[in-house]
Amino acid sequence: MDQEYQATVKKLVEEHGADNLMMIIGAPDVEGAELVAETVTEGDPSYAGPLAGVSLGLPVYHVLEPAIRAEISEDLYKEHLEMMAMVIDPQELETALSKYRKKS
């Protein structure tokens, strides 16, 4: 996750608090999604960015995960998400990201 965006997320959490805030991501693969989740829950794994050693504890979901999908209307799902759900396996995303949410 780019360092400029790490700084932005950090600022947003400081401003709004982590209690009623979550991050919803749209990464094109599971590995990329995991990296973002790791960065904003446990801190920057490369120890280089503003989130190095900072544990924001922000819950992270991928927009294709079943829990989020359940809240999105059929029309919007078809228009925005359906095709990418064939490219990235929503179940795999859930398995990968739920690990980090348990820690958040």
């Binding site: 990464a27 693969d29 359906e82 095709m83 990418m84 064939m86 490219v87």
Partner: protein, 482 residues
């Protein structure tokens, strides 16, 4: 409703190896300045020129290996080097850093480059063996600038030192004392774009056996911003390149849309020819220096060489119909409209489905799809994904949703109609067009009938709009003179 046929006669590709410039790439420079990366540590991860030449993706780029053979090679590529491969290939070459400094000096018209006398004289000898650098070019190397003077410029005049194999051999100077758009760093970016553009254009003209005087127009799709403080990004890199490539009867201009620029410029060039304005148009893209070393942290973390150490250059010759060369199908090109939306579905509808439908073709009627061909070995270590694979998965998903292939045929579709990425990660260089040279050859040899070239541009990075861009065209076998 289209005019006469337009063909692509030739495509040329070059790489320039710049290990000692990695430190000035946007990302490495910021990391070093912030003290988060030690320059000495970074230097331990730089590759030799021989390793850059033997690196399989680079060999695919200059045409010594076909994408099909590449798909069968052992990975990781950086550990399975091809020592028998040469710096020259059918599409162009991989130029070493010292020669690149040489052409920066030769094609610098504003005393921007100083090189030391000993480096200059060695270079003069070395460049005499280069097939595209003339004796007249080499005269412009001059005698060199005394080392003390170079050191003084670096120390007192904000010049940027140029190193070769760790030794100070010259400097690049600012073009104005007090203009943020003409600093030494900006001049480095712009001059590198220009010289890689000239070099690849000279390769193109030679490979196509055309006199440069016959070229009518050049379109540059390079991603730099040439100008001064009153005209930042003012542009026309095209004419600057054409001048030194001896295209004396040509004019030109720039066509930009982030990574989509090159495919867009091809369509513009083809339209100008089809409309009868010009006969011979060159589309040229020089290297994008700011991307050098962009993902170096991922490479260092995985104990790999820093793979973003080459600048790319690409040039394409568009012409009126010769009855033989592959045709740019202007009856239907893809464009991503402002109202189309940012979804993958909307983008691929615009770039793949809509244009094919107009031609009454199915997705499976396309033999090869050329998408953004970024080398995944560069992007994966930084967690940036395998860009071409994601693109191919999306096109395959689209074919499955439309019932053209079964859901169990996705991987076969990708294997057959896609390819692994092999391009340096400089957006306009990587977007679809690295396959063009291979496609021209495969179509000529009767191995494939067509290729769909699709490129996307991340307009939102400039913070003027949340929109993205996309553009595509179909290249087809020539059915003979109309």
């Amino acid at each position: 409703m289209t005019g006469p046929k337009v063909v692509i006669k030739q495509a040329a590709y070059i790489l320039a190896h710049v290990p000692d410039l990695v430190r000035y790439g946007s990302k490495p420079e910021r990391e070093i300045a912030a003290g988060r990366t030690e320059l000495a540590e970074l230097e331990k991860h730089l590759r030799s020129f021989d390793d850059a030449v033997a690196y399989p993706p680079n060999q695919v780029f200059i045409g010594n290996i076909s994408p099909d053979d590449y798909a069968d090679l052992q990975e990781p590529w950086h550990e399975n080097l091809l020592r028998d491969k040469a710096r020259y290939g059918p599409f162009g070459e991989i130029m070493p850093q010292d020669e690149l400094y040489g052409i920066m000096k030769i094609w610098d018209q504003f005393d921007l480059i100083d090189l030391s006398p000993s480096f200059t004289s060695a270079l003069n000898e070395q460049l005499a063996a280069h097939p595209l650098i003339t004796a007249k070019d080499r005269e412009r190397l001059g005698e060199g600038t005394p080392q003390e003077k170079i050191e003084k410029k670096v120390e007192k005049e904000k010049s940027l030192p140029l190193f070769h194999r760790g030794k100070l051999v010259g400097c690049i100077n600012r073009a104005h004392d007090n203009d943020a758009t003409l600093t030494a760093h900006v001049m480095l970016e712009n001059l590198l774009t220009k010289v890689t553009g000239i070099l690849v254009t000279r390769h193109l003209v030679r490979n196509a056996s055309i006199e440069p005087e016959k070229i009518d127009y050049l379109l540059s799709c390079s991603e730099e911003a040439v100008g001064d403080r009153y005209n930042r990004g003012g542009g026309n890199m095209a004419k600057a390149i054409g001048e030194e490539a001896h295209c004396v009867n040509a004019s030109g201009c720039d066509v930009k849309s982030f990574c989509a620029g090159t495919v867009l410029a091809i369509i513009h060039g083809a339209a100008l020819i089809s409309a009868g304005l010009f006969n011979e148009v060159i589309v040229v893209g020089g290297g994008s220096f700011s991307k050098i070393g962009m993902k170096f942290q991922g490479h260092m973390k995985h104990n790999m060489p820093i793979l973003e150490d080459v600048l790319g250059g690409i040039a394409i010759l568009l012409s009126t119909d010769d009855g033989a060369s592959p045709v740019v199908n202007l009856a239907s090109t893809g464009k991503h409209d402002i109202s189309a939306g940012a979804t993958a579905q909307a983008i691929y509808d615009a770039l793949v489905i809509d244009p094919l439908q107009k031609l009454e073709m199915k997705i499976t009627d396309v033999d090869k799809f050329a998408v953004e061909l970024h080398n995944p070995e560069v992007t994966l270590p930084m967690g940036s994904g395998n860009v071409p694979l994601t693109n191919y998965k999306t096109i395959a998903a689209m074919a499955a949703m439309r019932g053209e292939i079964g859901r169990e045929e996705l991987s076969e579709f990708i294997r057959l109609r896609g390819m692994p990425g092999f391009s340096p990660t400089q957006g306009h260089i990587a977007s679809a067009v690295p396959y063009l040279g291979h496609s021209l050859k495969l179509i000529a040899d009767g191995k494939i009938n067509n290729t769909l070239f699709a490129a996307k541009g991340s307009l939102f990075l400039g913070r003027m709009t949340h929109l993205a861009d996309g553009v595509s065209f179909l290249l087809e076998k020539n059915s003979g003179k109309d």
